[in-house]
């Protein structure tokens, strides 16, 4: 296999990892205001993704880094051409990441609701925009002979792009709801299951429409098969969650996302960024790639270090495999130093300690 093809596949794998992993933590963020009835619920929800969301985002960094190193022209045209869209995504991701950390630092309702809102928008906006971006990469953008993208943000918001955005948004919301049902207990778990079935009513038609639109315009036989399998996996996931098989349902949405990304990258190949101005101006794996020497060095580095990264990320998931909830969550903020009178017994784990407000 040519190294350029190998790196194209590797970048597809990195994006797959990103969407499968960050997909559910976006979903949890999107569902936060809907499934979190009180502060304890919302804390339990955030704690399901707390130890892993930043590790999940590393997949995005490596995907970007691999694109920069292996296909510098792709990176240049993409990041300049999608400048404002990426700016929006970055701002959303920054605010979201900070919100997880800041929300627990002050124990007032107003403060926490504000950051909850930031978590929602910081999750929903990228979940939508990644789909818009990828649909436009597959569709192609106006690009001149110098590989300069001549469109703007509004060019990206075409019907097919928006359909792609809704597809990722609903897929991530479903993936997140199923993840919550897998990782929580009691009432929250039951509500997450119910929500998953309800979200699926939107996810299935939107994702199907997006896959059909992609295959009609850009498909080939191999990706027709992956797209069909993606649809089967999605339906299987919905059937599984409706029957309360949370593990199978999560595997189902994960496989769906893998196959959707495989379909999109398969539709794209051998282009990396098609030009709608003229097919001759398109960036392909050949005219956008680094030198053979660079790719060879990178291949060795990737082969050596990827297993290490996979091992420690896997270990993180193993450490935090327990369900969240059940026993009352301990309060976030340490009790104030009592002024004079002794504190009334060892009660930080008692039910009164984590009433949503009043501290």
């Amino acid at each position: 296999m040519a190294l350029t093809t190998f790196w194209f596949i590797l970048i597809a794998v990195l994006w797959t990892g990103y969407f499968v992993l960050e997909g559910f933590d976006f979903g949890v963020g999107i569902l936060l205001p809907f499934l979190g009835r009180d502060d304890t619920d919302r804390r339990a929800m955030i704690n399901t993704i707390g130890p892993v969301w930043d590790g999940n985002e590393v997949w995005l960094l490596t995907a970007g880094g691999a694109t920069f190193a292996a296909f510098p022209l792709w990176y240049a045209s993409l990041f300049s051409g999608f400048y404002l869209a990426l700016l929006l995504i970055l701002v959303a991701l920054i605010v979201r990441g900070v919100s997880f950390e800041f929300r627990g630092k002050v124990a007032t309702d107003r403060w926490r609701r504000g950051w909850d809102r930031a978590i929602f928008w910081g999750s929903a906006l990228p979940a939508l925009l990644w789909g818009v971006a990828f649909a436009n990469i597959v569709r192609g953008v106006p690009m001149n002979a110098g590989h300069v993208v001549t469109g703007n943000l509004l060019t990206l918001l075409n019907p097919y792009g928006l359909l792609g955005g809704l597809a990722t948004l609903t897929l991530f919301a479903l993936h997140g709801a199923i993840f919550l049902s897998l990782r929580t207990t009691g009432d929250l778990r039951a509500r997450a299951r119910k929500a998953a079935v309800r979200i699926a009513a939107a996810t299935v038609p939107v994702a199907a429409a997006f896959l059909i639109a992609s295959q009609v315009a850009h498909g080939r036989l191999a990706t027709d098969i992956t797209a069909a399998l993606a649809a089967v996996a999605l339906l299987a996931a919905v059937a599984a969650i409706a029957r309360g098989k949370e593990g199978w349902a999560f595997a189902g949405t994960a496989v769906t996302l893998v196959l959707v990304v495989a379909t999109l990258f398969g539709d794209l190949w051998p282009d990396v960024l098609p030009s709608t101005t003229s097919a001759a101006y398109s960036l392909t794996i050949n005219n956008a790639s680094s030198s053979h020497y660079t790719l060879t060095v990178m291949t060795w580095v990737a082969l050596l270090f990827t297993p290490v990264v996979l091992a420690y990320q896997g270990w993180t998931y193993w450490v935090f495999r327990h369900r969240v909830g059940g026993t009352p969550l301990p309060p976030l903020l340490p009790p104030k130093p009592s002024s004079g009178k002794p504190s009334s017994g060892p009660s930080p784990a008692g039910p009164a300690a984590h009433a949503p407000s009043g501290l």
């Binding site: 300069v148 935090f320 327990h322 969550l329 104030k336 504190s343």
Partner: protein, 247 residues
């Protein structure tokens, strides 16, 4: 605290050693940067190193300064009488090599950022040395000034590396990739100036706002004081380790 002081001192010395090794590399690879760091306009042997200079910085006059003889030559060539190229000489050589143009970085910035980088780094190392002396044999320093200085010293390594960053970026001008790509040619053709300006404004406001919130939270947390002794949470009896809830 002593651990921090030792790490700062070792780190400071290691930084000075690697920085010194890089100085020779810089002198041979990018002589303009070395000349601009010292504001040395004309090639000279036994070049001196100035600690401070108040002057016009175009090399014409120097109003006041503290200079260490031969030090620049020693840094750049390991020989106190070695030759260090001056800005004007390098400029002429570059014109021959790369064609007509201005190859001089903005000297006041390179001159002062270099000095502030070394200065803040040295300050951090000196503070660690003083701190290690004052805390010898587990002594607890009584002076309030020591603790105030310790808080201020937190900033010094950051300031040093920021100044170093400014120096290396400004000293390389007008190049983004030395000898290959000039800054004026590195601009993305598809991104308009207002777009870049918009992103710069957005990020400045965003980081400014988040920084202010973080600062407010820190001050709030400091004012609240250390937490009361927390009683051990009674175990649930299962013996299973339960992850700490951070959020």
């Amino acid at each position: 605290m002593r651990l921090g002081l030792v790490v700062t001192l070792v780190g400071g010395i290691a930084t000075a050693v690697t920085g010194d090794l890089q100085a020779r590399l810089m002198d041979s690879q990018q002589p303009m940067k070395m000349a601009a760091a010292e504001a040395l306009y004309n090639t000279s042997s036994s070049a001196s190193f100035s600690l401070f200079t108040v002057g016009t910085l175009n090399g014409d006059s120097q109003l006041w300064g503290v200079r260490v003889p031969d030090l620049l030559s020693l840094i750049a060539t390991l020989d106190p009488h070695g030759t260090v190229q001056g800005i004007n000489n390098v400029q002429r050589a570059y014109e021959k090599k790369y064609g007509p143009g201005d190859y001089k970085p903005y000297v006041p910035v390179t001159y002062w950022s270099f000095r502030l980088m070394v200065g803040f780094g040295t300050l951090a190392a000196l503070f660690s040395l003083a701190g290690l002396w004052l805390t010898r044999r587990r002594r607890i320093p009584q002076s309030r000034w020591f603790y105030r200085a310790a808080i201020a010293a937190v900033a010094t390594p950051y300031l040093a590396s920021t100044m170093g960053w400014i120096f290396t970026e400004m000293g390389r001008q007008p190049w983004t990739v030395f000898g290959v790509l000039q800054t004026s040619q590195s601009v993305s053709p598809g991104v308009s100036a207002w777009t870049v300006a918009a992103s710069l404004v957005v990020f400045t406001l965003l980081y400014g706002g988040l920084g202010a919130v973080a600062g407010w939270l820190m001050i709030r947390s400091i004012k609240a004081g250390p937490p009361a002794e927390q009683p051990e949470t009674p175990g649930t009896g299962t013996g299973e380790p339960v992850p700490v809830f951070t959020y």
